[in-house]
C-alpha cells in the first residue's frame, strides 16, 4: 500500500500494542506460505498498480513522445482546475444526501422489521433483492422509467396532478435527484437488514429494564438502542460512505455525468479522462488525489469506530 504519512502514523500506533507477540521461526515460515497467494495477487494487481499510478502522475505521457518526468505539474493542473473541484463537490453532495436518506429510512424500517416475527424471513429476502441486482442493469430500467415522455414515473405523477418532470434530460436538481433515488432504492435495504439483525441481537434484559423504567419509545430509541448499536452503525456507515464515494455504474448508465458535467462524480471523471480523453497522466493524477482523500475519510471513520 502506498501509505501516506498519517496512515503510517496510525498503523504504528495501532500495532505498537501487539509487538510483544513473538515471531516463532517455523510458524513464521508457515504464515508466509499461507499468505503467499493473497500477497501475490494483492502485490501484483493492487500494490504495484498503486505505485505505478503515482509514478504516472509524476510524468507526462503522450501517445507520440516518450514519457518524461514533470514533477508535480500534473497536480498543479488538476488542483488548479475548477472542474476537478466541482467533481469532488458533486461526489460529496451525492454521498451525504444518499447516506442521510438511506440511514433514516433504513433505521425506521429496521425498527419495524425487528418487531415482526411472522413472515420476517420472507420480508427480509424480498427487501434484499434490490441490493443484489446488477446496479448498471437496474439503472437502465430507471432511465426508461424516468423518461420524460414515456416514463412510468412521470405517468404516475401526472395521475396525481403533478406535471411531468424532466429528471435526467435537463440540468437542475432533477439528475441528482434521479441518482439519489436510484441509490436509495438500491442501498436502503443494506441498512435495514444489518440494523434489524443488530436490533434483534440487543440484550433482552436491557430492553426490559428500559421498559420497566417506563422509557418512552423515542427516549428508548435514542438513549438505549442507538448507543448500543453504535459500533454496528459506524461500520455500516463506513462501508456505505466508501461505496457511495466510488459510485460509478449508476451514474455512467443513468446520466453519464450530464447534462454537461452536472452529475460527473469522481469515478466517472477519471474514467472519462482515461477512456474517452486518453489523458493518461492527468487521469492517474486525479486517481491518486482521490485515493488519498478516500484514505483520509476511511481513517477518520475507522478512528471513530475504534473510539466507540
Amino acid at each position: 500500500m502506498a501509505a501516506t504519512q498519517p496512515v503510517q502514523a496510525l498503523l504504528e500506533r495501532v500495532s505498537k500494542a501487539s509487538f510483544v507477540e513473538t515471531w516463532r521461526r517455523p510458524q513464521r515460515r508457515m504464515v508466509i506460505l499461507l499468505c503467499l497467494p493473497a500477497f501475490l495477487l494483492l502485490g501484483v494487481l493492487v500494490g504495484w498498480p498503486i505505485v505505478y499510478g503515482v509514478l504516472l502522475s509524476l510524468q507526462r505521457v503522450t501517445p507520440t513522445a516518450a514519457p518524461g518526468w514533470v514533477g508535480f505539474r500534473n497536480y498543479q493542473a488538476v488542483l488548479g482546475s475548477g472542474p476537478f473541484w466541482q467533481t469532488l463537490f458533486i461526489t460529496l453532495v451525492f454521498t451525504v444526501l444518499s447516506l442521510v436518506i438511506e440511514l433514516g429510512l433504513g433505521m425506521a424500517l429496521a425498527l419495524m422489521l425487528a418487531r415482526v416475527v411472522r413472515g420476517a424471513g420472507l420480508i427480509r429476502t424480498l427487501i434484499l433483492i434490490p441490493v443484489m441486482l446488477t446496479p448498471a442493469v437496474a439503472a437502465i430500467n430507471f432511465r426508461v422509467m424516468l423518461n420524460y415522455d414515456y416514463g412510468v414515473i412521470n405517468y404516475v405523477l401526472n395521475q396525481v396532478g403533478i406535471a411531468s418532470q424532466p429528471w435526467v434530460s435537463q440540468a437542475g436538481v432533477g439528475p441528482m435527484l434521479a441518482l439519489i433515488l436510484t441509490d436509495v432504492w438500491r442501498s436502503t435495504p443494506f441498512f435495514v437488514l444489518v440494523l434489524s439483525s443488530g436490533l434483534l441481537a440487543l440484550p433482552q434484559d436491557v430492553m426490559e429494564a428500559a421498559d420497566v423504567d417506563g422509557a418512552r419509545i423515542w427516549r428508548k430509541l435514542f438513549l438505549v438502542k442507538i448507543p448500543m448499536l453504535a459500533p454496528l452503525l459506524l461500520v455500516t456507515v463506513l462501508f456505505r460512505v466508501i461505496d457511495l464515494f466510488r459510485t460509478f455504474d449508476i451514474v455512467y448508465v443513468l446520466t453519464q455525468g450530464g447534462p454537461g458535467t452536472s452529475t460527473t462524480v469522481a469515478s466517472l471523471r477519471i474514467y472519462n479522462d482515461m477512456a474517452v480523453g486518453n489523458f493518461t497522466s492527468y487521469a492517474a493524477t486525479e486517481a491518486t488525489i482521490f485515493m488519498v482523500l478516500t484514505l483520509l475519510v476511511s481513517i477518520g471513520l475507522i478512528r471513530a469506530m475504534k473510539a466507540s
Partner: protein, 324 residues
Amino acid sequence: MPRESGAEPMSNNASQVGAAPESSTSESPSDVVGARLHQDLVSSSGGMNRRKTRWGLYFTYAGLITYVVVSLLPVVWAVLQSFKIPTDIFAVPPKWIFRPTMENFQALFSRTGSSFFTYLMISVVVTTGTVLVTLLASLPAAFALTFLPVRRKFWPIVLLLAAMLPPIVLLVPLLLFWQNLRMIDNPIALVLTYSAVSVPFTVWLLRGFMLQVPHELVDASRLDGAGDVRLLVSVIMPVIRAGIAAASVFLVIFAWNELLFASMLTTRNRTATAGIVATLITDRAMDWGTLYGAATLVVVPIILMTFAVSGHFVRGFTMGAVKG
C-alpha cells in the same frame, strides 16, 4: 388474510373478559394462528397496552409491505417489459396487461451477430473463476491471520484500508498493465483483477467467522498432532462453511455485477453486464425489447439466488463487522 382471522377471536376474547383488556393472564388465544399472533405481540413489546400494540403491529406490517411492494415494482416492471413487443414498451399509459411475446428472447439467441450468449457464458466463467481464485487465496491468509502469531492489530486495519480502496484508482495502471501483456479481452485478466480487488474484504469476512471458532476445538486438534494445513482443511473449513458460503455470495454478486473493469478491460469478449451497457451507450438504433430481455436474463439468476442465500448475506456482513 390469516392475520385478521387470528385477530378476530382475540378481540372477542378481550371484550368478553370485559373491562380489563390489559390484564395479561386472562387471555387464551383460541387457535394456533391466535397463539402465533399472541407470540408476536408479546415479543414485540413487554408491558404495553395490548390493543395499542396490536394496531402498532398492523401498521408495522403495512409499512413493511408497502416498502417491499414499492421497491419490487421496478423489478417486476423490467421483467414484464422483456415480454412486450416494441410498441408496448413505451406505451402511454403504461401497459400492465398485454399479450406476452417471446420474440425478444428468441432474437437474443438466434439473430446472427448477436453476441449475448457469448457474453452470458463469459459472465459465468468469470464469476466462477473469481469465486474459486479468491477463496483459494483468502482462506489460507485468513487462517494465518487468525490462528498463527502475526500482528493482530496491524493486519486487520491494513485489510480494511485495502478493502476501501476505490477501484477507479487502479483503472489507469491496470489498463496499461493488461495492455502490455496483451490480455485485453482475456477473461483470465478479469478473473485475476476481480480476485485481487476482492481478497481484502474476503479475508476480513472469513476472519470474522474464524474468530468464532471455539479455542478448545483448535487446541484439541493441535494436540492430536494436526499441522496447520490439516487444521485449516479438515477442522476450520467445515466449521466455518457458513462463512465460506457468505463470502461466495458476495463474490458472485460482485463479479456478476461489475461494470468498471469489465467495460475497460474488454472490447469484444464482454461480460453480460458490460455488454448490455455498451449496447445502451453506443447503439443508436437500439432494440429496447432485446435489451430488456438481456437485462432480465442477467437479473433473474440473482433474484433466484437471493431466495436461496439471503441469510448468509447479512450474517456475513455483521459477523465481519462485529469482530473486525
